[in-house]
Each structure stands twice: as C-alpha cells, then as structure tokens.
C-alpha cells in the first residue's frame, strides 16, 4: 500500500480471455509496488474519469508468473467502460483489500467450494493453490444460469486432473449439457460429507449462499466452518466511505470473507 492509499497503481493488460458474452478475464501486469494479494481479496479496479469498482482477484500472482487476473462482468459504469479495453491498454488498481478465504483451515479437511455464476472468480485462486492446502479432499460445486454462462469452462479438465472433484449444474440446461440440471443447492444436498471434517467456502448471489449454507447445516456442518463472501457497494475499500457497512462490519476491510456466524442475524441480508 502506498503512503496515500487513494493513489492507484497502473496495470498493463497482457491478455483478455472472453469467458461468456459479457464476462472477460483480464490478465494484468501491475507496476511494481502493488502487493500480490491472497485468495478472496479484491482490488478497486477502474479508470480515472470513470471511477472504481471492487473486483475479486480471480488469480493471485504465484511462482512462475507475476500476472494477476480479474474476471469482470460488464454491468455497471466502470465495468462496462473496462469491457472496451484491449491488450496493451492500462487500467488502474488499488489494493489488495480485505480478508480473504481462511485457506489454512483446509489442512486435513474436506474443502467444499461452492459457487454460483461469477462467484467462481474469487474461488479460483483457492483451486489454483490446491496442492499447497494439504486438504484431504477438495470438491467444487458450481452452478450457473445456463451452459453459456459457465466461466472458466476450459479449466475444469485441468482441475479434475489435480484431483478436484468438480460438479456442475445449470438452472436451464440445453444444447448437449451432460451435467446436473437444477440449482446448486441440489448438488450440495447430494454431497457425502463428514460434517466435523468439512470446511466450506461459498461465493455467489446472496440467496444462493444462504441456501447452500443451509444445506450444509442440515448435514450438521458447524456454522463456524462455513465461509461466505457477500457483495456490497464500495467506494474506498478501506473502511472509510461507509457504503459496505453491514451490522458492525465493514465488508471491505473486515471481510469480504466472513464465517457464517459473524453475519448471522443482521438485517438487510439473507444470512
């Protein structure tokens, strides 16, 4: 972090992968000084004149490459503006901010990763470091709206090779879809687990996180072993602007990853 935490770092776009119609992954080479970050953390990504938006790291720089990645859906002022950028252009980053996934807790456990839609993006760095987690078993349960909106499609084969049990579902199947059809909660329900030896990281729409967590609770997984990453409006990323406040928390600096009991009971959320 710089002395003035509002000053952004430049990052050169080294490549862009189109994931779906409106989702692209930007491969970014930041100027020196930007800390690499950890799985579950986010950067404020933007461009002067347009503004900044909080975007999760979908790849954390690791040995062999300094590139980081952000997977962005063009839906708002900032993200729509960025969707016009091409390889070689520069964007601006501040961060990384927040508390990421408690990856150390996966050691010796069955790590259950549950994601919905773009929620797979902040889960992806956990998968990428899976060989370092010393988890007994890793399962990824991923749901999307339809086959065309599944992101990181080309990577599932590689993840399976690493020993990760990848299970997919879509709400609206079609065109040769060979996996489960239905909500992600259904494939959570089918999962065989030993509740005391399970830790779960969930990211997706809030209602999906709620019901996926409920399925785990029905299997007697303790609340404190279930982690979620809620989305909130953010302007600063540092607990100053106040927009992301939820109960006593600043989602940006106390989260975005929370254990389920930390969020339970506060109004204006589904947890």
């Amino acid at each position: 972090m710089r002395k003035n935490p509002y000053v952004p770092f430049k990052a050169a776009i080294r490549g862009i992968r189109r994931e779906t119609g409106d989702v692209s992954t930007f491969l970014l080479e930041p100027e020196s000084g930007l800390p690499p970050g950890a799985p579950g953390q986010f950067n404020m990504v933007g461009y002067p004149g347009v503004g900044e938006a909080p975007i999760s790291l979908s790849r954390v720089p690791m040995e062999g490459s300094d590139l980081l990645e952000h997977t962005i859906r063009a839906v708002g002022r900032v993200t729509y503006f960025l969707s016009a950028f091409r390889q070689g252009d520069e964007i601006f980053l501040r961060g990384p901010f927040g508390r990421g996934w408690p990856v150390n807790e996966a050691g010796g456990k069955h790590l259950v990763l549950i994601s919905g839609g773009l929620g797979l993006a902040p889960i992806r760095p956990v998968i990428q470091m899976s060989d370092k987690l010393q988890a007994r078993r890793i399962t990824l349960l991923h749901g999307a709206r339809d086959p065309g909106s599944v992101i990181f499609k080309t990577e599932f084969r590689h993840w399976r090779k690493k020993g990760i049990d990848v299970r997919l579902t879509v709400d609206e199947p079609g065109g040769g879809w060979r996996h489960h059809a239905g909500m992600v909660t259904e494939i959570v329900r089918e999962l065989q687990i030993r509740p005391a030896e399970t830790v779960a990281f969930i990211c997706g729409p809030e209602i999906m996180m709620r019901f996926a967590a409920d399925e785990l609770f029905l299997k007697d997984v303790p609340g404190s072993s279930v982690y979620v990453s809620p989305e909130r409006r953010m302007r600063c990323g540092m607990g100053l602007c106040g927009h992301c406040q939820h109960g006593v928390w600043f989602v940006c600096k106390d989260g975005p990853v929370f254990s389920y009991p930390e969020l339970k009971g506060y109004p204006d959320a589904l947890f």
Binding site: Y6, Y47, G49, R233, R235, L240, D268
Partner: protein, 349 residues
C-alpha cells in the same frame, strides 16, 4: 480527577473571562480562530476575529464543528493529469492552515474522537490527518442543554470526561473560567498566570454538572437495545415511522457529528485536460447508498431508517463506542420530528 495530584496542578488553572479572551485572541497570530457565533441551538461555527463574537453559552449548532472542519463536505482527494502517456495521478497539497476550534462541547469532542477511529485507523486518510494535526481543539463544558440533548444517556456529556485526544477543556465557572490543559502543545501555548483551583472549585464544578443533569428531558435506556434491535428489525415503531414520516431527506445524517460516510466520484474538466477525484458526504438514507448491480440491500425506507437508528444506538462492536454522542441534532433538524430515542423507547416497551 480532583486536582490533588501535584503533577497535574500546573495544568489546571482558574482565569478571568478577560484573560481567556486575550489568550484566545492571541492565538490568532498563528491560528485561524473558529468559534460558535449566535444563540441557543442555532449557533454556527465560523471564523471569528475577536472573542466578543463568540457566544460561550451557545447550546448547539446545526453543523457539527469536527466533521465540518476536519472532513469537509466536499473536497478533492486526488487528481489526474491527462498526458500522452495516459492519466497521471497527483496528490492534492496537504492542508497547512493552522486552526483553533474553540468551544467544542463534550458531545462534539467525543464525535471527533470517533472520526479519529474511522480516519486514523488501518488506512489513515492523509487530508483528515493533516487537518487533525493542524487543529487545536478547545473544548467547553455545557452550561445549558437543549430539549433534544441526550449525551448524558450515552456517556458523552454533558461534562467532558475524556482525558486525551483534544487540547484544552474549559468550564465557565460564573465569571471565571477553569482551564484544564490536556495536551503537550496546549501546555506550551498556555502561559497565563491564574489561580490554582481549590477543593471548593472542583466541588462547585461537580455540583454544576449535577445541576445540569436535571435539565435533560430525553430519557431512554441505551443498554439492552441490542437484543431488541436484532430480534425485531421490523418493529412497528420503525416501520410506521419510516413509512409514515421519514422523507429520506438525510438531514439526520448531514447534521450528525459522527456520520462519516461519503461518496467518491470523478469529475472530468470540460477541456479534458484533467480529472478530479472528489469525495462528498453521503447518507445511508439515500436510495442508492447500498445499491449494487442486480439489487439494493436497503431498498425500503424502513431499512434505511433502521440503518441510521441501529448504527447510532447499537453496533458498538464496530469501534468499541456507540455511534451516537447524544447531541440531538438529528432530532432537532428532522423536518418531521423523528426522534431515534422515541423509536428506541417504543422498541424497548
């Protein structure tokens, strides 16, 4: 504290109003002097040129002194020059104006300590920090309260008990002023000969506060709100107030001395040669405050009013202190007279 501690003696002194006036006016040599001007609860903190302009008996102001002068309503936090190589970030110059905030009541002093927790925490805000360091805070114990005040119920007044984080504490002792020096720089700046306070003076100060405590009209129990708040977030007291009276005008937030929320937005110069990144006070009462793509976490007016009430009266876990200092401004300046203490009372019934 009773003044018997010898090491403290030199830091506590009784002086005349005239001595105080000439000391404060003397500060103008190096500081811009800001003080309360006007009467009752409609005074205003602004620059003054002589002590006579200040009304030490003022009861309240619409805008709180701390937030107004330390976190300006709107300011540039960064700018970008547009160059052939792309935008280049430029930090704004740090504010260097030395300032005295004179006559800050206990509630408003506590509010500044609260803002410190926000803006001088893990990510210190450079502009806030510079202003904070350049500002001498001379606090003043209240001699009268408004019908809206409830500092006594939340541990923020009416007499200031905090021992640090500000510079001087004054108490108007009917003709004399008790001066308590609370910072090293205050001890350096204050070189007035006076009378050391005696036991009877401290006793008199205590009696004055006890007397003042009798004049408050607000009354609610601040403890135990937590369970009620979280178990009944849709309590009729909240719902009916929100739906029947709240205009979402955000007056409550704007006048609140602890409300720190702000928006950050970019302004491009018409000539397209530069961009300013601005911040401006924002309010949880605004419809779009908690909106994200695909949803709004506080779409209903009730949810927005609840956020204000809960943040002020509960959610102590956030900074270890309540979000309210009991100044009563949100009640005084609500166009429909919404009173968070009444909502709390209804919910506790």
């Amino acid at each position: 504290m009773n003044g018997e501690n010898t090491s403290q003696k030199n830091y506590e002194i009784l002086i005349s109003r005239q001595q105080l006036a000439s000391w404060v006016e003397g500060l103008r040599e190096n500081f811009q002097l800001i003080g309360p001007v006007g009467v009752k609860d409609e005074a205003e903190f602004r620059e003054v040129f002589s002590f006579d302009e200040i009304n030490p008996g003022y009861r309240s102001t619409m805008l709180p002194p701390g937030k107004t002068f330390l976190l300006k309503p709107e300011e540039e936090i960064l700018s970008f020059d547009i160059t052939p190589e792309g935008p280049v970030a430029k930090e704004p110059p740090l504010p260097h104006q030395k300032r005295v905030l004179f006559g800050v009541h206990a509630c408003d002093t506590h509010a500044i300590l609260y803002l410190d927790k926000v803006f001088l925490g893990a990510f210190p805000d450079p502009l806030y920090r510079a202003r904070r360091e350049n500002t001498l805070i001379i606090s003043l114990n209240c001699r009268a309260v408004t019908e809206f005040c409830f500092c006594h119920l939340v541990g923020a007044g009416p007499f200031l008990k905090a021992q640090s984080g500000y510079d001087v504490l004054l108490t108007d002792m009917d003709g004399e002023f008790l001066v308590e020096l609370k910072s090293e720089r205050a001890r350096k700046l204050f070189r007035i000969e006076g009378r050391p306070p005696e036991e009877k003076d401290w006793k008199r100060k205590e009696e004055m506060e006890l007397e003042l405590l009798k004049s408050f009209s607000k009354d609610f129990r601040a403890d135990g709100l937590r369970e009620v708040f979280l178990s009944r977030p849709d309590h009729p007291a909240l719902r009916e107030t929100a739906e029947g009276r709240c205009l979402s005008c955000a007056n409550c937030v704007m006048v609140c001395p602890t409300c720190f929320c702000h928006d950050i937005y970019d302004e491009t110069r018409v000539s397209r040669t530069g961009i300013k990144r601005m911040r401006r006070w924002d309010a949880c009462q605004d419809y779009s405050f908690a909106r994200v793509h695909g949803g709004n976490f506080r779409q209903e007016r009730q949810a927005r009013l609840r956020q204000f009430v809960f943040h002020k009266l509960d959610y102590e876990g956030q900074f270890g202190v309540k979000g309210t200092v009991g100044c009563g401004r949100c009640i005084r300046w609500c166009p429909t007279g919404i009173d968070l203490t009444e909502i709390a009372k209804e919910m506790m019934k």
